[in-house]
């Protein structure tokens, strides 16, 4: 797969001999494929970076993209694909920027002519293909890490623990509760109980679209753990369909208090903790 020393020497000569022409032709082809979503100047800079990386690598002798001496070239390619991935370009648009080099090389080889022209071109094209694949892979890797980051942020964002009253905290659960989220919710809730020394916690499941045995198991675990630490948990926000599902699945909440709404749960807790709530008499006359 790798280019031999003579081949890479000819590649270096070809590319550096008419450096300006190569980069401007290359930029031209890439620009037309991106339909003006990146400025000409920026593209030119990227292409020049790549060009110099290729030339620098090929001057060192044989080129093998996986070898140590191609580290600079790999870094340049990874840099390009990382940038494109973050800017929201598609994988094709990113890889085409590399494949554009083939067209440029075809023109150059044709002009130069010579006995080895065909062999040289095939070898160069192979190298470009390899570079394209490498770019594609690093593009995918960048995208995957972006998605993982976002999933983590979502996990952080979607589980707030709020203080409702002196000694009462609530967790409004929103969205599907999988094991990872349940774990985060549990840890967050228990830590908040300790930090605020609140003896009551309300778990509100109004925003949970469906409760199956697994979700119920997660909620039950949280309640039992809170009890072990000396706090009482109340489950609220059980919608009619969810109540039916819970009964149909045979899920037992045992002696855990369940309430239809958050307001009911809060009232229940306030009564337990001995806070009097009185309705003010409406003013008469006046």
């Amino acid at each position: 797969m790798a280019l031999s020393t003579e081949e890479s020497g000819r590649l270096a000569a070809l590319l550096s001999g008419q450096a300006d022409r190569v980069t401007s032709r290359w930029t031209e082809i890439v620009t037309s494929s991106l339909r003006g979503r990146l400025s000409q100047a920026e593209l030119r800079r990227q292409v020049q970076d790549l060009h110099s990386a290729i030339v620098a690598t090929s001057e060192q002798g044989d080129i093998d993209l996986s070898a140590d001496n191609a580290a600079e070239l790999r870094a340049a390619l990874a840099d390009l694909s990382r940038g494109r991935a973050r800017q929201g370009f598609s994988a094709t648009e990113t890889t085409v920027s590399i494949f554009a080099l083939k067209d440029v090389l075809a023109e150059l080889v044709q002009e130069a002519g010579g006995a080895n022209a065909l062999n040289d071109y095939v070898a160069f094209a192979k190298l470009v293909d390899e570079m394209g694949l490498f770019t594609f892979e690093s593009f995918v890797r960048t995208r995957e890490s972006l998605i993982a980051d976002q999933a983590e942020q979502l996990l952080e964002l979607s589980t707030p623990v709020v203080k409702l009253w002196e000694g009462v905290v609530a967790v409004p659960l929103v969205g599907t509760l999988d094991s990872a989220r349940a774990q985060v919710v549990m840890e967050r809730l228990l830590q908040t109980l300790v930090d605020t020394s609140s003896p009551y916690a309300i778990i509100d499941i109004t925003g949970v679209p469906a409760v199956d045995t697994q979700v119920a198991q997660h909620i039950l675990k949280t309640v039992v753990a809170a009890r072990l630490m000396g706090a009482d948990c109340i489950i609220s926000g059980i919608r009619p369909q969810i109540a039916q599902t819970i009964v149909a699945l045979g899920i037992e909440f045992g002696d855990i208090a369940t309430k239809a709404s958050l307001a009911d749960a809060l009232r229940h807790v306030l009564r337990l903790s001995g806070v009097e709530t009185a309705r003010r008499q409406p003013r008469r006359g006046a």
Binding site: S197, A225, A226, R227, G230, A231
Partner: protein, 136 residues
């Protein structure tokens, strides 16, 4: 051998476990505690496990035993300061601390004991006037 200190605060004995419990330490603690409850006539025992990173079945059983001993001697036992990680581990292992009351911290534990004790006192005080009025 390490010994776990037992502190008396008002009507409550406070045991703060800060060492790794071995069989010997546990037995010694049970003996010491039983003696102190009888000597002082306290009505509440608070066991603080804030410093414990791990609560396994051994420690769980020890806590249960202490609670039972105190119960016999008419003292309420409250375990306080369990860490979230410890609680989660206990739940995942399926261990439960049967017959043990828990509270978030020492302060809450003292309130709990005070409330339980006040109920008992009310009950005793209520008893006598009722008895008198019942037989006029």
């Amino acid at each position: 051998m390490e010994r776990v200190p037992i502190l008396k605060i008002g009507d409550i004995l406070l045991v703060s476990i800060q060492v790794d419990m071995s069989d010997q330490t546990a037995v010694q603690l049970q003996e010491d505690l039983a003696e102190r409850i009888v000597d002082t006539g306290c009505h509440g025992v608070i066991i603080d496990i804030t410093a414990l990173d791990i609560v396994d079945s051994f420690v769980g059983r020890m806590l249960s035993t202490i609670a039972s001993i105190s119960k016999v001697l008419d003292a309420e036992t409250v375990v306080v300061g369990m860490r979230p990680a410890v609680a989660i581990t206990l739940v995942e292992l399926g261990l439960s601390l049967n017959g043990i009351r828990t509270a978030l911290n020492v302060e809450r534990g003292m309130e709990l004991i005070a409330a339980a004790h006040a109920d008992e006192l009310d009950y005793q005080l209520d008893d006598d006037p009722d008895a008198e009025t019942a037989t006029p």
